[in-house]
Structures are given as structure tokens and as C-alpha cells.
């Protein structure tokens, strides 16, 4: 009986853990829409070259698991950035597995500056909107 109760307890904890994880991932709210390209470009600016899977892991690590880039969003985004001449691709084979390394082109590097500037403006504006500075009322 004790064993069953322990098992149930473990299962219950697992349920809770999964549930909390889901809630956490629910935070992948609509807010992140539109920021994926900027994230990719900034990471490439920092790290020189990265492959898709690496990007998802890096983002997960940096945000303590709060932001999980879905592959269905990532790969099309990478292809689009490549088509736009923002990224260059280079295929390598590591451990018999394919890797597509992406890096910023010259144009991409310039464009990254703009995107980051837009992001700063966006964040500044959002902070003005939700964190209004105390009104000067006399």
C-alpha cells in the first residue's frame, strides 16, 4: 500500500511538473510574434555562425526555458532570411548528421543594427505605455 501511495505521489508530482511546464510554455504568448528574426540575427552577430537546432537550444538556455522557438517557425524564418540575402548557409556533416550553419552576410550585419534599433524603440515605447512615468500634477 505504501508503495502504491508513493507511486501515486510520484505520478502526481509528474503531473504537476508537466502542468507547470505547460503553463510556463504558455507564456510563449503572442508578444514574441515578430521578434524571431531579430533574435536569430542578434545571436548570429554574437556567435559568428550557428545551425538551427543550436539556435533553439541557445534561446531556451538564455531565457531559462521560458522561450522555446518552434521548428515550424525557425526553419522557414532561416530560409526567408537566406532568400533575402541576410544570411549565408554552409552545410557540414558532423557525426554523420547534417548541419546547416548560418552566418550573417554583409547586408545582414548592417540590417541587424537596424533591427536592434527597432527593438529598442519598441521596448522603450512599450515601457512608456505600461510603465508611465509619474505624472507631474500640482
Amino acid at each position: 500500500m505504501i508503495m502504491y501511495r508513493n507511486l501515486m505521489y510520484i505520478c502526481f508530482r509528474k503531473e504537476i511538473a508537466l502542468h507547470l511546464l505547460m503553463i510556463k510554455n504558455m507564456k510563449n504568448s503572442q508578444l514574441y510574434k515578430g521578434s524571431l528574426n531579430t533574435i536569430i540575427m542578434k545571436l548570429l552577430e554574437e556567435n559568428g555562425k550557428m545551425y538551427g537546432y543550436e539556435i533553439t537550444q541557445k534561446v531556451k538556455a538564455i531565457t531559462s526555458g521560458e522561450l522555446n522557438i518552434t521548428e515550424g517557425a525557425l526553419y522557414p524564418a532561416l530560409h526567408k532570411l537566406e532568400a533575402e540575402g541576410i544570411l549565408d548557409v554552409e552545410i557540414e556533416k558532423v557525426d554523420n548528421r547534417m548541419r546547416k550553419y548560418y552566418k550573417l552576410t554583409e547586408k545582414g550585419t548592417t540590417e541587424t543594427v537596424n533591427r536592434l534599433s527597432e527593438l529598442e524603440d519598441f521596448i522603450r515605447n512599450m515601457q512608456s505605455l505600461v510603465n508611465p512615468s509619474p505624472k507631474l500634477e500640482f
Copy 2:
């Protein structure tokens, strides 16, 4: 001739001004996608009740004209929030013109706290991603 040149000069300046304005508004980039509901709810939390047009003007003012909410986005968003029980509506007639005043319901007030918390998380995560703290390398 002088007059023509002056006229041309003025027109030219106007062209530039318009162009700069367009560029400015181009900053209405994809980043803002997903943040409209949060903006609306926060403004209503602060101001008690507001009508649609008032919201567009307020946002424009707060962001120094950098963010212009389009009516095609605003009105459907208000209707959706009302349908979800986040907002209550109350119609008034001022100066022979209709105004639909929106205010947060009780549920809406609770929900606003969550949205703002999500926004803070989002901003924090984005800052971690693009503004990485200096690496501790020895």
C-alpha cells in the same frame, strides 16, 4: 524665379518631411504584433474608461507619434475583448457624435495583471537575448 525656387524648396522640404514620417511609421514593425490587447487593457486600467478614438490618440501621444494603432486592428480587438468578458461597453452621445466607452470588467482587471506580467517577462527575455550581460571569461 526666386519665388519658384522658394516654392520648390518648400515642396521639397514637405516631401522630405512626409518621407521621414513614413519611415517613422514604418517602425510600426512586426514587433508590435501581439501587444495591442495588453496596451488597451493597461490604458483602461489607468484611465478607468476610454473610447476607441481616444485610445489611438493616447498611444500616439505617449509614443511621440512612433506607434499608430490602426482602426482596422483596434475596433476588432475591442469587440473581441468585450466578447471575452474582459471589457464592458457603454454608449454615449457627445456633440451629436457616438462614443463607445470601454472599461475593464472584474475579470478584465485580473487578466490585466497577467498580461502585464507576461509583458515584463517578454521584455526581460528579449533584453537577455539582445543585451547579453558581459561574459565572465578568464
